[in-house]
Protein backbone atom coordinates (compact mmCIF):
# COMPACT_ATOMS: atom_id res chain seq x y z
CA UNK A 1 0.00 0.00 0.00
CA UNK A 2 1.31 3.45 -0.91
CA UNK A 3 -0.96 5.35 1.48
CA UNK A 4 -2.42 3.87 4.67
CA UNK A 5 -4.64 5.84 7.03
CA UNK A 6 -5.67 4.15 10.27
CA UNK A 7 -8.08 5.35 12.94
CA UNK A 8 -7.89 9.03 12.02
CA UNK A 9 -9.88 11.29 14.37
CA UNK A 10 -10.11 15.05 14.05
CA UNK A 11 -12.06 17.65 15.97
CA UNK A 12 -11.82 21.44 15.79
CA UNK A 13 -11.81 21.81 19.59
CA UNK A 14 -11.63 19.23 22.41
CA UNK A 15 -15.25 19.90 23.48
CA UNK A 16 -16.73 19.55 19.99
CA UNK A 17 -17.88 16.28 18.40
CA UNK A 18 -15.35 14.83 15.96
CA UNK A 19 -15.54 16.02 12.33
CA UNK A 20 -13.73 12.86 11.27
CA UNK A 21 -14.35 9.77 13.35
CA UNK A 22 -12.11 6.74 13.00
CA UNK A 23 -11.28 7.00 9.31
CA UNK A 24 -9.45 4.10 7.63
CA UNK A 25 -8.22 4.44 4.05
CA UNK A 26 -5.87 2.50 1.81
CA UNK A 27 -4.49 3.47 -1.56
CA UNK A 28 -2.48 1.06 -3.70
CA UNK A 29 0.14 2.00 -6.29
CA UNK A 30 -1.48 3.29 -9.47
CA UNK A 31 -4.90 3.41 -7.87
CA UNK A 32 -7.35 6.32 -8.03
CA UNK A 33 -9.64 6.90 -5.07
CA UNK A 34 -12.55 9.32 -5.39
CA UNK A 35 -13.86 10.73 -2.12
CA UNK A 36 -17.57 11.56 -2.33
CA UNK A 37 -19.83 13.18 0.23
CA UNK A 38 -22.22 16.08 0.73
CA UNK A 39 -20.91 19.59 1.50
CA UNK A 40 -19.62 19.90 5.02
CA UNK A 41 -18.96 16.22 5.75
CA UNK A 42 -15.25 16.77 6.13
CA UNK A 43 -13.77 15.83 2.75
CA UNK A 44 -11.54 18.89 2.69
CA UNK A 45 -10.79 18.47 6.41
CA UNK A 46 -9.62 14.92 5.70
CA UNK A 47 -7.38 16.16 2.88
CA UNK A 48 -5.96 18.87 5.13
CA UNK A 49 -5.18 16.29 7.83
CA UNK A 50 -3.37 14.17 5.24
CA UNK A 51 -1.27 17.05 3.86
CA UNK A 52 -0.40 18.23 7.34
CA UNK A 53 -2.07 21.64 7.45
CA UNK A 54 -4.43 20.29 10.13
CA UNK A 55 -3.24 18.06 12.95
CA UNK A 56 -5.30 14.95 13.59
CA UNK A 57 -6.13 14.12 17.19
CA UNK A 58 -5.50 10.41 16.72
CA UNK A 59 -4.56 8.01 13.99
CA UNK A 60 -1.57 7.25 11.81
CA UNK A 61 -0.83 8.25 8.24
CA UNK A 62 1.81 6.18 6.47
CA UNK A 63 3.21 6.66 3.00
CA UNK A 64 5.25 3.76 1.62
CA UNK A 65 5.01 2.31 5.11
CA UNK A 66 6.55 5.30 6.90
CA UNK A 67 5.19 8.28 8.80
CA UNK A 68 6.64 11.71 7.95
CA UNK A 69 7.59 14.15 10.67
CA UNK A 70 8.56 17.32 8.80
CA UNK A 71 6.83 19.31 6.08
CA UNK A 72 9.83 18.71 3.85
CA UNK A 73 9.78 14.92 4.30
CA UNK A 74 6.04 14.82 3.63
CA UNK A 75 6.33 17.05 0.55
CA UNK A 76 8.77 14.59 -1.05
CA UNK A 77 6.17 11.83 -0.84
CA UNK A 78 2.84 13.56 -1.14
CA UNK A 79 1.84 16.44 -3.40
CA UNK A 80 -1.29 18.51 -3.01
CA UNK A 81 -3.17 19.98 -5.96
CA UNK A 82 -5.45 22.78 -4.76
CA UNK A 83 -8.33 24.26 -6.69
CA UNK A 84 -6.79 26.74 -9.11
CA UNK A 85 -7.16 30.37 -8.12
CA UNK A 86 -5.83 32.94 -10.49
CA UNK A 87 -4.07 35.89 -8.93
CA UNK A 88 -0.41 34.88 -9.34
CA UNK A 89 1.57 36.72 -12.00
CA UNK A 90 4.41 34.17 -12.00
CA UNK A 91 5.10 32.31 -15.21
CA UNK A 92 3.85 28.73 -15.46
CA UNK A 93 7.47 27.54 -15.41
CA UNK A 94 8.20 29.46 -12.19
CA UNK A 95 4.98 28.10 -10.69
CA UNK A 96 5.94 24.52 -11.52
CA UNK A 97 9.51 25.11 -10.26
CA UNK A 98 8.06 25.73 -6.79
CA UNK A 99 7.31 22.01 -6.73
CA UNK A 100 11.08 21.34 -6.66
CA UNK A 101 11.38 23.02 -3.24
CA UNK A 102 11.39 19.86 -1.07
CA UNK A 103 14.28 18.47 -3.16
CA UNK A 104 16.48 21.59 -3.00
CA UNK A 105 19.38 21.89 -0.58
CA UNK A 106 18.71 24.53 2.09
CA UNK A 107 19.18 28.08 0.71
CA UNK A 108 19.67 26.75 -2.84
CA UNK A 109 17.81 27.93 -5.91
CA UNK A 110 16.49 25.45 -8.50
CA UNK A 111 19.22 24.53 -10.93
CA UNK A 112 19.34 23.27 -14.49
CA UNK A 113 18.16 19.79 -13.51
CA UNK A 114 15.16 21.25 -11.68
CA UNK A 115 14.27 23.36 -14.72
CA UNK A 116 14.37 20.24 -16.86
CA UNK A 117 12.09 18.37 -14.49
CA UNK A 118 9.69 21.32 -14.40
CA UNK A 119 9.59 21.46 -18.20
CA UNK A 120 9.07 17.70 -18.38
CA UNK A 121 6.17 18.03 -15.96
CA UNK A 122 4.62 20.78 -18.08
CA UNK A 123 4.99 18.70 -21.23
CA UNK A 124 3.51 15.67 -19.45
CA UNK A 125 0.26 17.61 -18.92
CA UNK A 126 0.56 18.99 -22.45
CA UNK A 127 1.11 22.70 -21.87
CA UNK A 128 4.88 23.15 -22.20
CA UNK A 129 4.31 25.71 -24.97
CA UNK A 130 2.82 28.02 -22.31
CA UNK A 131 5.89 27.79 -20.01
CA UNK A 132 6.62 31.52 -20.09
CA UNK A 133 2.99 32.66 -19.93
CA UNK A 134 1.80 34.26 -16.65
CA UNK A 135 -0.41 32.08 -14.46
CA UNK A 136 -3.18 34.71 -14.38
CA UNK A 137 -3.10 34.94 -18.19
CA UNK A 138 -4.09 31.32 -18.96
CA UNK A 139 -7.48 29.60 -18.81
CA UNK A 140 -8.90 27.84 -15.74
CA UNK A 141 -8.20 24.43 -17.25
CA UNK A 142 -4.58 25.37 -17.99
CA UNK A 143 -4.19 26.63 -14.42
CA UNK A 144 -5.41 23.31 -13.06
CA UNK A 145 -3.03 21.45 -15.37
CA UNK A 146 -0.18 23.75 -14.22
CA UNK A 147 -0.87 22.88 -10.58
CA UNK A 148 -0.89 19.19 -11.53
CA UNK A 149 2.49 19.76 -13.20
CA UNK A 150 3.74 21.51 -10.04
CA UNK A 151 2.70 18.44 -8.03
CA UNK A 152 4.44 16.19 -10.59
CA UNK A 153 7.66 18.19 -10.17
CA UNK A 154 7.61 17.19 -6.49
CA UNK A 155 8.11 13.59 -7.70
CA UNK A 156 5.75 12.23 -5.04
CA UNK A 157 4.21 8.79 -4.54
CA UNK A 158 0.72 10.17 -3.84
CA UNK A 159 -1.37 12.96 -5.32
CA UNK A 160 -4.08 14.60 -3.22
CA UNK A 161 -6.51 16.79 -5.15
CA UNK A 162 -9.34 18.94 -3.90
CA UNK A 163 -12.16 18.96 -6.48
CA UNK A 164 -9.80 19.08 -9.47
CA UNK A 165 -12.66 19.56 -11.94
CA UNK A 166 -14.60 22.22 -10.02
CA UNK A 167 -15.58 25.28 -12.10
CA UNK A 168 -14.11 23.85 -15.32
CA UNK A 169 -16.04 23.51 -18.57
CA UNK A 170 -16.78 20.05 -19.96
CA UNK A 171 -13.73 20.01 -22.25
CA UNK A 172 -11.34 21.03 -19.48
CA UNK A 173 -12.95 18.58 -17.03
CA UNK A 174 -12.22 15.83 -19.54
CA UNK A 175 -8.63 16.97 -20.07
CA UNK A 176 -7.98 16.96 -16.31
CA UNK A 177 -9.63 13.54 -15.88
CA UNK A 178 -7.65 12.11 -18.77
CA UNK A 179 -4.44 13.43 -17.19
CA UNK A 180 -5.36 11.74 -13.89
CA UNK A 181 -6.07 8.43 -15.63
CA UNK A 182 -2.74 8.58 -17.50
CA UNK A 183 -0.80 9.43 -14.34
CA UNK A 184 -2.38 6.49 -12.52
CA UNK A 185 -1.53 4.22 -15.47
CA UNK A 186 2.11 5.31 -14.99
CA UNK A 187 1.97 4.24 -11.34
CA UNK A 188 0.89 7.38 -9.47
CA UNK A 189 -1.58 6.90 -6.61
CA UNK A 190 -4.28 9.57 -6.59
CA UNK A 191 -6.85 10.58 -3.98
CA UNK A 192 -9.31 13.26 -5.07
CA UNK A 193 -12.54 14.75 -3.76
CA UNK A 194 -15.44 15.32 -6.11
CA UNK A 195 -19.11 16.20 -6.32
CA UNK A 196 -19.54 14.29 -9.58
CA UNK A 197 -19.80 10.52 -9.05
CA UNK A 198 -19.70 9.82 -12.79
CA UNK A 199 -16.12 11.13 -12.91
CA UNK A 200 -15.16 8.16 -10.75
CA UNK A 201 -16.89 5.89 -13.27
CA UNK A 202 -15.17 7.57 -16.24
CA UNK A 203 -11.64 6.96 -15.01
CA UNK A 204 -12.24 3.60 -13.31
CA UNK A 205 -11.65 4.89 -9.81
CA UNK A 206 -12.42 3.33 -6.49
CA UNK A 207 -14.98 5.29 -4.47
CA UNK A 208 -15.18 6.06 -0.76
CA UNK A 209 -18.17 7.96 0.60
CA UNK A 210 -17.89 10.15 3.66
CA UNK A 211 -21.00 10.75 5.77
CA UNK A 212 -21.19 11.99 9.36
CA UNK A 213 -17.43 11.81 9.74
CA UNK A 214 -17.16 8.13 8.79
CA UNK A 215 -16.48 6.16 5.64
CA UNK A 216 -19.90 4.76 4.70
CA UNK A 217 -19.17 2.85 1.47
CA UNK A 218 -15.97 1.89 -0.24
CA UNK A 219 -15.21 -0.10 -3.38
CA UNK A 220 -14.91 0.11 -7.19
CA UNK A 221 -17.14 2.86 -8.57
CA UNK A 222 -19.12 0.59 -10.89
CA UNK A 223 -20.00 -1.71 -7.99
CA UNK A 224 -20.62 0.83 -5.25
CA UNK A 225 -22.49 3.56 -7.12
CA UNK A 226 -26.20 2.79 -7.12
CA UNK A 227 -29.29 4.97 -7.16
CA UNK A 228 -30.15 3.88 -3.66
CA UNK A 229 -26.70 4.60 -2.23
CA UNK A 230 -26.38 8.04 -3.88
CA UNK A 231 -29.94 9.04 -2.95
CA UNK A 232 -29.14 8.15 0.64
CA UNK A 233 -25.79 9.98 0.58
CA UNK A 234 -27.04 13.26 -0.88
CA UNK A 235 -30.57 13.03 0.62
CA UNK A 236 -32.26 13.51 -2.74
CA UNK A 237 -33.53 11.08 -5.38
CA UNK A 238 -30.78 10.14 -7.81
CA UNK A 239 -30.98 7.61 -10.67
CA UNK A 240 -27.95 5.78 -11.99
CA UNK A 241 -28.16 5.19 -15.75
CA UNK A 242 -26.55 1.99 -16.99
CA UNK A 243 -25.34 1.15 -20.48
CA UNK A 244 -24.62 -2.49 -21.39
CA UNK A 245 -24.91 -3.32 -17.70
CA UNK A 246 -22.33 -0.81 -16.41
CA UNK A 247 -23.33 2.46 -14.72
CA UNK A 248 -22.37 5.52 -16.80
CA UNK A 249 -24.24 8.53 -15.40
CA UNK A 250 -25.92 9.79 -12.24
CA UNK A 251 -29.02 11.92 -12.78
CA UNK A 252 -30.91 13.64 -9.97
CA UNK A 253 -34.72 13.87 -10.04
CA UNK A 254 -36.01 17.41 -9.62
Amino acid sequence: MVLTVEGLVFRHAPVLPPVLNDIDLMLAKGEILCLLGPNGTGKTTLLRCLIGTLRAERGTIRIDGKTSSTARQLARKMAYVPQASGDSALSLLDTVLMGRTPHLRPLALPGRRDHDIALMALSRVGIERLAQRAFNRVSGGERQLTLIARALAQEPSVFLMDEPTASLDLGNQTRVLRTLRDLAADGMSILFTSHQPEHALLIGARVATLADGRIAHSGPAREVLSGEMLSDLYRTSIDVITLHGTPVACVPRI
Binding site: D116, A121, S157
Partner: protein, 358 residues
Protein backbone atom coordinates in the same frame (compact mmCIF):
# COMPACT_ATOMS: atom_id res chain seq x y z
CA UNK B 1 9.09 4.46 -7.07
CA UNK B 2 10.87 4.70 -10.41
CA UNK B 3 7.69 4.93 -12.47
CA UNK B 4 6.90 8.26 -10.83
CA UNK B 5 10.38 9.65 -11.33
CA UNK B 6 11.06 11.52 -14.48
CA UNK B 7 13.97 9.52 -15.78
CA UNK B 8 17.28 10.80 -16.99
CA UNK B 9 16.84 10.02 -20.68
CA UNK B 10 13.51 11.81 -20.81
CA UNK B 11 15.08 14.70 -18.99
CA UNK B 12 17.94 14.96 -21.45
CA UNK B 13 15.49 14.94 -24.30
CA UNK B 14 13.37 17.65 -22.70
CA UNK B 15 16.54 19.57 -22.13
CA UNK B 16 17.57 19.36 -25.76
CA UNK B 17 14.16 20.34 -27.06
CA UNK B 18 13.03 22.93 -24.58
CA UNK B 19 15.95 24.44 -22.78
CA UNK B 20 17.51 27.09 -24.99
CA UNK B 21 14.64 29.61 -25.00
CA UNK B 22 13.39 28.97 -21.47
CA UNK B 23 16.37 28.21 -19.23
CA UNK B 24 17.27 31.51 -17.61
CA UNK B 25 18.19 31.13 -14.00
CA UNK B 26 19.86 34.48 -13.43
CA UNK B 27 19.95 37.66 -15.41
CA UNK B 28 23.60 38.53 -14.80
CA UNK B 29 23.57 41.14 -17.57
CA UNK B 30 20.88 43.36 -16.16
CA UNK B 31 22.17 42.92 -12.59
CA UNK B 32 25.68 43.89 -13.67
CA UNK B 33 24.29 46.93 -15.49
CA UNK B 34 22.49 47.98 -12.31
CA UNK B 35 25.64 47.56 -10.18
CA UNK B 36 27.60 49.72 -12.62
CA UNK B 37 24.73 52.22 -12.67
CA UNK B 38 24.78 52.55 -8.89
CA UNK B 39 28.58 52.98 -8.96
CA UNK B 40 28.29 55.68 -11.62
CA UNK B 41 25.57 57.55 -9.75
CA UNK B 42 27.64 57.30 -6.55
CA UNK B 43 30.69 58.90 -8.22
CA UNK B 44 28.48 61.58 -9.76
CA UNK B 45 26.88 62.26 -6.37
CA UNK B 46 30.27 62.80 -4.80
CA UNK B 47 31.02 65.54 -7.34
CA UNK B 48 28.04 67.59 -6.22
CA UNK B 49 28.49 70.26 -3.57
CA UNK B 50 29.94 73.68 -2.76
CA UNK B 51 33.45 72.42 -3.39
CA UNK B 52 33.49 71.22 -7.02
CA UNK B 53 35.46 68.04 -7.69
CA UNK B 54 36.09 66.02 -10.84
CA UNK B 55 35.35 62.32 -11.09
CA UNK B 56 39.08 61.71 -11.57
CA UNK B 57 39.90 63.56 -8.35
CA UNK B 58 37.29 61.54 -6.44
CA UNK B 59 38.59 58.25 -7.80
CA UNK B 60 42.14 59.34 -7.00
CA UNK B 61 41.22 60.11 -3.36
CA UNK B 62 39.27 56.86 -2.97
CA UNK B 63 42.09 54.79 -4.45
CA UNK B 64 44.74 56.51 -2.31
CA UNK B 65 42.75 55.88 0.84
CA UNK B 66 42.23 52.25 -0.16
CA UNK B 67 45.97 51.67 -0.45
CA UNK B 68 46.58 53.68 2.73
CA UNK B 69 48.17 56.85 1.34
CA UNK B 70 47.27 60.52 1.18
CA UNK B 71 46.28 61.63 -2.29
CA UNK B 72 48.24 64.22 -4.24
CA UNK B 73 45.32 66.66 -4.01
CA UNK B 74 45.88 67.74 -0.43
CA UNK B 75 44.21 66.96 2.87
CA UNK B 76 41.33 69.43 2.34
CA UNK B 77 40.15 67.49 -0.69
CA UNK B 78 40.75 64.18 1.09
CA UNK B 79 38.67 65.44 3.97
CA UNK B 80 35.74 66.58 1.80
CA UNK B 81 35.61 63.28 -0.05
CA UNK B 82 36.31 60.83 2.77
CA UNK B 83 34.70 62.50 5.77
CA UNK B 84 31.74 64.30 4.20
CA UNK B 85 30.69 62.99 0.82
CA UNK B 86 31.65 59.32 1.03
CA UNK B 87 29.66 58.63 4.24
CA UNK B 88 26.66 60.38 2.77
CA UNK B 89 26.81 58.43 -0.48
CA UNK B 90 27.34 55.13 1.36
CA UNK B 91 24.44 55.98 3.67
CA UNK B 92 22.16 56.68 0.69
CA UNK B 93 23.13 53.33 -0.84
CA UNK B 94 22.62 51.46 2.44
CA UNK B 95 19.29 53.11 3.26
CA UNK B 96 17.92 52.84 -0.29
CA UNK B 97 18.95 49.19 -0.66
CA UNK B 98 17.75 48.29 2.84
CA UNK B 99 14.31 49.91 2.63
CA UNK B 100 13.71 48.55 -0.87
CA UNK B 101 14.74 44.97 0.00
CA UNK B 102 12.56 45.04 3.11
CA UNK B 103 9.67 46.43 1.04
CA UNK B 104 10.04 43.70 -1.61
CA UNK B 105 10.16 41.02 1.10
CA UNK B 106 7.07 42.37 2.91
CA UNK B 107 5.07 42.72 -0.32
CA UNK B 108 5.68 39.05 -1.02
CA UNK B 109 5.35 37.88 2.58
CA UNK B 110 2.02 39.67 3.06
CA UNK B 111 0.94 38.96 -0.54
CA UNK B 112 -0.01 42.62 -0.75
CA UNK B 113 1.37 45.08 -3.30
CA UNK B 114 0.68 47.96 -0.90
CA UNK B 115 2.85 46.59 1.92
CA UNK B 116 5.76 48.80 2.90
CA UNK B 117 8.62 48.21 5.36
CA UNK B 118 6.68 50.37 7.86
CA UNK B 119 3.64 48.07 7.87
CA UNK B 120 4.46 46.42 11.21
CA UNK B 121 5.22 49.70 12.98
CA UNK B 122 9.00 49.94 12.67
CA UNK B 123 8.94 53.60 11.51
CA UNK B 124 6.50 54.73 14.18
CA UNK B 125 8.53 52.92 16.86
CA UNK B 126 11.83 54.33 15.61
CA UNK B 127 10.34 57.83 15.51
CA UNK B 128 9.22 57.47 19.11
CA UNK B 129 12.64 56.16 20.18
CA UNK B 130 14.40 59.05 18.49
CA UNK B 131 12.02 61.65 19.93
CA UNK B 132 12.46 60.22 23.42
CA UNK B 133 16.25 60.32 23.07
CA UNK B 134 16.13 63.96 21.94
CA UNK B 135 13.81 64.87 24.80
CA UNK B 136 16.38 63.38 27.17
CA UNK B 137 19.09 65.35 25.35
CA UNK B 138 20.83 62.26 24.04
CA UNK B 139 22.55 62.56 20.68
CA UNK B 140 24.85 60.70 18.34
CA UNK B 141 25.05 56.99 18.94
CA UNK B 142 22.49 57.15 21.77
CA UNK B 143 19.95 58.76 19.45
CA UNK B 144 20.67 56.23 16.72
CA UNK B 145 20.42 53.35 19.18
CA UNK B 146 17.15 54.64 20.61
CA UNK B 147 15.60 54.89 17.15
CA UNK B 148 16.80 51.38 16.31
CA UNK B 149 15.50 49.94 19.58
CA UNK B 150 12.15 51.77 19.22
CA UNK B 151 11.65 50.16 15.81
CA UNK B 152 12.46 46.68 17.12
CA UNK B 153 10.18 47.11 20.17
CA UNK B 154 7.27 48.25 17.98
CA UNK B 155 7.52 45.31 15.57
CA UNK B 156 8.03 42.81 18.40
CA UNK B 157 4.85 44.13 20.06
CA UNK B 158 2.92 43.78 16.79
CA UNK B 159 4.13 40.20 16.33
CA UNK B 160 3.34 39.39 19.98
CA UNK B 161 -0.18 40.87 19.80
CA UNK B 162 -0.89 38.98 16.57
CA UNK B 163 0.28 35.69 18.13
CA UNK B 164 -2.06 36.29 21.12
CA UNK B 165 -5.01 36.99 18.80
CA UNK B 166 -4.54 33.91 16.67
CA UNK B 167 -1.58 31.97 15.40
CA UNK B 168 -0.40 32.21 11.89
CA UNK B 169 -2.72 34.81 10.40
CA UNK B 170 -1.13 37.36 8.09
CA UNK B 171 -4.18 39.63 8.31
CA UNK B 172 -3.98 39.76 12.12
CA UNK B 173 -0.30 40.62 11.82
CA UNK B 174 -1.04 43.58 9.53
CA UNK B 175 -3.85 44.80 11.79
CA UNK B 176 -1.60 44.52 14.85
CA UNK B 177 1.04 46.52 12.99
CA UNK B 178 -1.56 49.19 12.29
CA UNK B 179 -2.54 49.37 15.97
CA UNK B 180 1.06 49.54 17.17
CA UNK B 181 1.90 52.23 14.59
CA UNK B 182 -1.04 54.36 15.69
CA UNK B 183 -0.05 53.98 19.35
CA UNK B 184 3.59 54.94 18.80
CA UNK B 185 2.61 57.87 16.60
CA UNK B 186 0.33 59.13 19.37
CA UNK B 187 3.15 58.70 21.90
CA UNK B 188 5.50 60.62 19.60
CA UNK B 189 2.92 63.41 19.38
CA UNK B 190 2.76 63.44 23.17
CA UNK B 191 6.55 63.82 23.35
CA UNK B 192 6.39 66.66 20.82
CA UNK B 193 3.68 68.31 22.94
CA UNK B 194 5.85 68.35 26.06
CA UNK B 195 9.14 69.10 24.24
CA UNK B 196 10.78 72.51 24.58
CA UNK B 197 9.39 74.38 21.53
CA UNK B 198 12.56 76.44 21.05
CA UNK B 199 15.15 73.74 20.42
CA UNK B 200 13.97 70.18 21.15
CA UNK B 201 10.70 70.32 19.20
CA UNK B 202 12.33 71.54 15.96
CA UNK B 203 15.00 68.86 16.33
CA UNK B 204 12.34 66.14 16.66
CA UNK B 205 10.34 67.47 13.72
CA UNK B 206 13.46 67.72 11.62
CA UNK B 207 14.56 64.18 12.48
CA UNK B 208 11.14 62.82 11.59
CA UNK B 209 11.34 64.47 8.16
CA UNK B 210 14.41 62.40 7.43
CA UNK B 211 17.77 63.37 5.97
CA UNK B 212 21.31 62.25 5.33
CA UNK B 213 22.99 65.61 6.03
CA UNK B 214 24.24 64.64 9.48
CA UNK B 215 25.51 61.15 8.65
CA UNK B 216 29.00 60.37 9.92
CA UNK B 217 31.24 57.42 9.26
CA UNK B 218 30.64 56.12 12.80
CA UNK B 219 26.83 56.12 12.26
CA UNK B 220 27.45 53.90 9.27
CA UNK B 221 29.75 51.59 11.20
CA UNK B 222 27.05 50.96 13.82
CA UNK B 223 24.15 50.60 11.41
CA UNK B 224 25.66 48.69 8.50
CA UNK B 225 26.09 45.26 10.18
CA UNK B 226 22.35 45.15 10.93
CA UNK B 227 21.32 46.55 7.56
CA UNK B 228 23.67 44.36 5.53
CA UNK B 229 23.01 41.29 7.71
CA UNK B 230 19.26 41.71 7.22
CA UNK B 231 19.62 42.16 3.47
CA UNK B 232 21.86 39.07 3.32
CA UNK B 233 19.29 36.94 5.16
CA UNK B 234 16.49 38.15 2.86
CA UNK B 235 18.68 37.34 -0.13
CA UNK B 236 19.64 33.85 1.08
CA UNK B 237 15.98 33.01 1.76
CA UNK B 238 14.69 34.36 -1.55
CA UNK B 239 13.58 30.97 -2.91
CA UNK B 240 11.45 29.81 0.07
CA UNK B 241 10.06 33.36 0.27
CA UNK B 242 8.97 33.11 -3.35
CA UNK B 243 7.20 29.82 -2.62
CA UNK B 244 5.16 31.64 0.06
CA UNK B 245 3.44 33.46 -2.82
CA UNK B 246 1.44 30.27 -3.38
CA UNK B 247 -0.23 30.74 0.02
CA UNK B 248 0.70 29.43 3.46
CA UNK B 249 -1.03 26.03 3.18
CA UNK B 250 0.26 25.33 -0.31
CA UNK B 251 3.78 26.43 0.65
CA UNK B 252 3.62 23.98 3.54
CA UNK B 253 2.65 21.13 1.19
CA UNK B 254 5.77 22.00 -0.81
CA UNK B 255 7.92 21.49 2.25
CA UNK B 256 8.22 25.05 3.63
CA UNK B 257 8.08 25.49 7.41
CA UNK B 258 5.92 28.57 7.06
CA UNK B 259 5.82 30.08 10.55
CA UNK B 260 9.55 29.93 11.33
CA UNK B 261 10.32 31.29 7.86
CA UNK B 262 7.89 34.17 8.34
CA UNK B 263 9.42 35.10 11.70
CA UNK B 264 12.96 35.05 10.29
CA UNK B 265 11.89 37.21 7.34
CA UNK B 266 10.13 39.71 9.61
CA UNK B 267 13.20 39.86 11.88
CA UNK B 268 15.58 40.38 8.95
CA UNK B 269 13.42 43.03 7.25
CA UNK B 270 12.88 44.81 10.57
CA UNK B 271 16.60 44.89 11.47
CA UNK B 272 17.34 46.29 8.02
CA UNK B 273 14.61 48.92 8.17
CA UNK B 274 15.36 49.96 11.75
CA UNK B 275 19.04 50.34 10.89
CA UNK B 276 18.15 52.43 7.82
CA UNK B 277 15.79 54.66 9.78
CA UNK B 278 18.32 55.06 12.57
CA UNK B 279 20.68 56.76 10.11
CA UNK B 280 18.25 58.54 7.82
CA UNK B 281 15.14 59.28 9.91
CA UNK B 282 11.69 58.21 8.76
CA UNK B 283 12.01 58.12 4.99
CA UNK B 284 8.75 56.94 3.46
CA UNK B 285 7.71 55.68 0.01
CA UNK B 286 11.04 54.15 -1.00
CA UNK B 287 10.24 50.64 0.21
CA UNK B 288 6.77 50.81 -1.30
CA UNK B 289 7.71 52.25 -4.69
CA UNK B 290 11.05 50.68 -5.63
CA UNK B 291 9.94 46.99 -5.67
CA UNK B 292 7.21 47.96 -8.15
CA UNK B 293 9.80 49.72 -10.35
CA UNK B 294 11.92 46.56 -10.13
CA UNK B 295 8.99 44.38 -11.25
CA UNK B 296 8.43 46.61 -14.26
CA UNK B 297 12.09 46.09 -15.22
CA UNK B 298 12.78 42.42 -14.41
CA UNK B 299 9.35 40.77 -14.19
CA UNK B 300 7.42 39.16 -11.35
CA UNK B 301 9.86 36.53 -10.09
CA UNK B 302 10.67 37.44 -6.48
CA UNK B 303 14.10 35.80 -6.48
CA UNK B 304 15.10 38.31 -9.17
CA UNK B 305 12.93 41.20 -7.94
CA UNK B 306 14.68 41.22 -4.53
CA UNK B 307 18.26 41.91 -5.69
CA UNK B 308 16.95 44.24 -8.40
CA UNK B 309 15.03 46.19 -5.75
CA UNK B 310 18.14 46.54 -3.58
CA UNK B 311 20.19 47.92 -6.48
CA UNK B 312 17.44 50.18 -7.84
CA UNK B 313 16.70 51.43 -4.32
CA UNK B 314 20.36 52.36 -3.82
CA UNK B 315 20.42 54.28 -7.11
CA UNK B 316 17.04 55.89 -6.49
CA UNK B 317 17.93 57.19 -3.03
CA UNK B 318 21.30 58.52 -4.29
CA UNK B 319 19.46 60.54 -6.94
CA UNK B 320 16.76 61.80 -4.55
CA UNK B 321 19.43 62.82 -2.04
CA UNK B 322 21.31 64.66 -4.81
CA UNK B 323 18.13 66.58 -5.56
CA UNK B 324 17.68 67.32 -1.84
CA UNK B 325 21.07 68.94 -1.51
CA UNK B 326 21.33 70.65 -4.91
CA UNK B 327 17.84 71.78 -5.92
CA UNK B 328 17.47 74.64 -3.47
CA UNK B 329 19.73 76.98 -1.55
CA UNK B 330 18.95 75.15 1.69
CA UNK B 331 18.82 71.41 1.95
CA UNK B 332 15.42 69.78 1.46
CA UNK B 333 14.52 67.07 4.01
CA UNK B 334 14.84 63.65 2.39
CA UNK B 335 11.44 62.38 3.63
CA UNK B 336 9.68 65.28 1.89
CA UNK B 337 11.49 64.63 -1.38
CA UNK B 338 10.83 60.87 -1.37
CA UNK B 339 7.12 61.51 -0.76
CA UNK B 340 6.77 64.34 -3.31
CA UNK B 341 8.56 62.28 -5.96
CA UNK B 342 7.23 58.93 -4.81
CA UNK B 343 3.52 59.67 -4.93
CA UNK B 344 3.29 60.63 -8.63
CA UNK B 345 5.80 57.94 -9.61
CA UNK B 346 3.69 55.37 -7.78
CA UNK B 347 0.62 56.43 -9.76
CA UNK B 348 2.57 55.95 -13.00
CA UNK B 349 3.78 52.52 -11.84
CA UNK B 350 0.22 51.57 -10.88
CA UNK B 351 -1.00 52.48 -14.35
CA UNK B 352 1.74 50.35 -15.91
CA UNK B 353 1.30 47.42 -13.49
CA UNK B 354 -2.49 47.41 -13.33
CA UNK B 355 -2.69 44.75 -16.01
CA UNK B 356 -0.71 42.30 -13.89
CA UNK B 357 -2.94 42.54 -10.83
CA UNK B 358 -6.57 42.85 -11.75
Amino acid sequence: MTANRINTAERRQAHAELTPPTYRRHRPGSMMAMVLGVGGIAIFSMRLGHYPLSSAAILDVLWSSLIGQDSALGSAVDNVVLAVRLPRVLAAILVGAGLSSAGAAFQTLFRNPLASPAILGVSAGAGFGAALAMLLSAGGVMLQGAAFAGGIVAVSSAVFIASRLGRGSVLLLVLSGLVVSALFQALTSALKFIADPLNVLPAIVFWLLGGLGQVSLSDLIYASPFALGGIAVLFLLRWPTQVLEAGDDEAKTMGISVRPLRLVLIAAATLTTAAAISIAGTVGWVGLLVPHLARLLVGQTYSVVLPASALLGAGYLLIVDDICRSAFATELPLGIATAVLGAPMFVVVLMRARRQWS
